[in-house]
């Protein structure tokens, strides 16, 4: 297992390296960060040259990449974005925001997905299965921004009107200037309800389908028939024998989807004005001094590492839960 882990880690680092180089070139070539400066009237060529030198734009691309890479490997630094702030601390701040959104959404989706999937499988082709299947199809056919806008522009407005005061906030992660840790917490929850709900509904839909399929597979297996034939209680058969095994495939998907979400839930963040990882990338690519190569590279390192690490974790977990799996 250790050899396997080492091999996968080495492969992961290699992928990240190739990826970072490809992304650096692609992003750097995709536009001119000084376009605004150049377009503004009365800017002297000397000013532009100085700005270009400050952002290392006058160096060859490969040299700039090498500078970025050595900075990362030798000093553990992600460099400075074009706005002059260190990318590392910017990302740490953005990641906190993303985690506040993604962690509750993933936990909720997992809970709902597993429960709905198991109930659907146990009651296959009964009304409850049809309803949950219909809902799952509806949710994964709905773009995130449609669902988000629906909750923000219609549900929140109605709820707040009914409550008589602002119960659900639709903009940002918190209201500035609130005192007392309890009040801050309540305020943050009020801000988080709608974006977390949006992300949960979209995410649970797929997971519940996987859980249903896995549960159906297991319920039709011989060892479940044996367990029933032995006279075990239905509850014991369901929870101890069936569910335990039906959770295995779902674990993998949850781990991989969670990793992808760590790169930011861009659309949800934009609809509800949360400044998380997704918006960091978006601003890096489309903001004032875009494309901001160093911001994008920083984002890529965090998001790419998350994807690679969680992929390895998912495979390890699979082997741990299912002893038949060998690490080859």
């Amino acid at each position: 297992m250790w050899a396997y882990l080492l091999r996968r880690t080495a492969a992961g680092i290699l992928v990240l390296l190739v990826l970072s180089f490809a992304m650096f070139i692609l992003v750097a070539l995709s536009g001119d960060p000084l376009a605004q400066l150049r377009a503004s009237p009365g800017t002297s060529p000397a000013t532009i040259a100085a700005a270009a030198a400050q952002l290392h734009l006058n160096q060859p691309l490969v040299e700039r990449y090498w500078g970025w890479l050595t900075g990362l490997v030798l000093h553990g630094s992600l460099g400075s974005s074009y706005t002059g702030q260190p990318v590392g601390s910017q990302i740490a701040q953005r990641l906190t925001v993303t985690l506040k959104l993604v962690v509750p959404a993933v936990l909720l989706s997992l809970l709902i997905g597993v429960v709905v999937g198991v109930v659907s499988a146990v009651r296959q082709y009964k009304p409850v299965d049809h309803i949950s299947t219909g809902l799952a199809y509806l949710f994964f056919s709905t773009p995130v921004f449609v669902l988000g806008l629906l909750l923000k522009d219609f549900l929140a407005v109605d709820v707040n009107k009914a409550a008589g005061h602002t119960l659900l906030y639709t903009v940002g992660e918190s209201t500035p200037g609130i005192n007392g840790s309890w009040n801050v917490f309540v305020n943050e929850v009020q801000h988080a309800v709608l974006p977390v709900l949006t992300l949960t509904l979209i995410t649970y839909a797929t997971w519940s389908r996987f859980q249903r399929a896995a549960m159906l597979d297991v319920l039709n297996a011989d060892y479940i028939r044996l367990a029933r034939a032995k006279g075990l209680s239905p509850r014991r058969v369901l929870f101890v024998h069936a569910l335990r095994n039906a959770l295995i495939p779902v674990t993998t998907i949850v781990a991989i989807d969670f990793a992808a979400l760590l790169g930011g839930a861009l659309v949800t963040e934009i609809v509800f004005s949360w400044y998380g990882m997704g918006q960091y990338l978006y601003n890096g690519l489309t903001g004032a001094e875009s494309p901001d190569v160093y911001a994008v590279q920083g984002w890529l390192m965090v998001a790419g590492t998350a994807v690679i690490v969680f992929n390895i974790l998912a495979d390890l977990l699979y082997g741990l839960l299912d002893p038949r799996v060998r690490y080859a």
Binding site: Y137, L138, P143, F145, V146, L150, L281, T286, G304
Partner: protein, 301 residues
């Protein structure tokens, strides 16, 4: 396929007669048994026809600006008008056509790319397989939206036509199919009929095109269909972010984005394009589900 072995129908007058049913007919029968898939197909075709035919004689062009601003749905403007005075009905139909057109092209590009890469990797194995699959992994490792953002953020400003958006999406969305086709080919190439083809001296290209791809066509068609749904969804997101279809062209995503600030007071600006968008994606997903039952009976989830 168990159904193939017992296609018996009894006929009182002549005793037993055997009705033979071809692969295609069996598939069509399985598809029509999936009621939601049939409904999806009917809805999708109907929406497509309406969005292609009605604009020809509709009295407003989607780019025309009327002197009625932000009016609610009425006989003259069935879907109302927006803040600038566009007839929303004409706009939604134009957007629907653009979205579907884009997504179909994406599916064609992604299917050709995915099938080619998957075939070559699965058929030849060895170094070709290792290289192609590592390349596929590389594309899969970058979160999809990041890659799309990088590709479209600057490109779209220069060429925000549906063709460029389709090209970008097509170049990104082929990886899953490539893996699937490779998997199918790895098992197909060990089968006797491939060995027989080798024995009579058939070329690699002939074996792949005439024997192996037809045997893997079920998953390929299903995947192509689901790619259409995914492409509509992603194109809508890109256009919503302002990185997809650019004005004066409209797509369902850009219409929703344009109306979002006024959505709470002028709800038709949100509900008509959003309704068309979700209905279209839902219909295509149902069609894909029915096709999976029809063409790939073993893969039922």
């Amino acid at each position: 396929m168990r159904e193939v072995l017992i296609p018996l129908t009894t006929d009182a007058a002549e005793g037993l007669t055997i009705e033979s049913r071809g692969q295609l007919r069996l598939a069509v029968e399985r598809f029509t048994h999936h009621r939601l898939a049939v409904a999806g197909l009917v809805v999708f075709v109907a929406m497509l026809l309406v969005s292609l035919i009605v604009p020809v004689f509709w009295h407003y062009n989607y780019t025309a600006i009327t002197n009625q601003f932000a009016t609610a749905p009425s006989g003259q403007h069935p879907f109302g008008t927006d803040l600038i005075g566009h007839d929303l009905f004409a706009q939604v139909l134009a957007a629907e056509a653009t979205s579907v057109k884009t997504a179909l092209l994406v599916a064609v590009i992604a299917t050709i790319l995915g099938t080619t890469v998957g075939s070559v990797a699965g058929y030849y194995g060895g170094i070709a397989d290792a290289l192609l699959m590592r390349f596929t992994d590389l594309i899969l490792a970058v979160p999809l939206l990041a890659l799309l953002l990088v590709l479209s953020s600057k490109l779209s400003k220069q060429a925000g036509s549906w063709f460029w958006i389709a090209l970008i999406l097509g170049l990104v969305l082929w990886t899953n199919l490539a893996r699937q086709v490779r998997g199918a080919f790895l098992s197909l190439r060990e089968r006797e009929f491939v060995e027989a083809e080798h024995a009579i001296g058939a070329s690699d290209r002939r074996i792949i095109a005439r024997h192996m791809i037809p045997n893997a066509i079920g998953p390929i068609i299903v995947s192509a269909t689901l790619t259409v749904a995914l492409a509509i969804l992603i194109e809508a997101v890109l256009s919503f972010l302002g990185l997809g279809i650019q004005p004066p062209q409209v797509s369902l995503g850009s219409l929703i984005a344009a109306g979002q600030d006024a959505a709470a007071t002028l709800p038709w600006l949100f509900f008509f394009p959003a309704g068309f968008l979700v209905t279209t994606i839902l219909a295509i997903n149902f069609i894909g589900d029915g096709l999976r039952d029809a063409l790939d009976p073993g893969a039922r989830r």
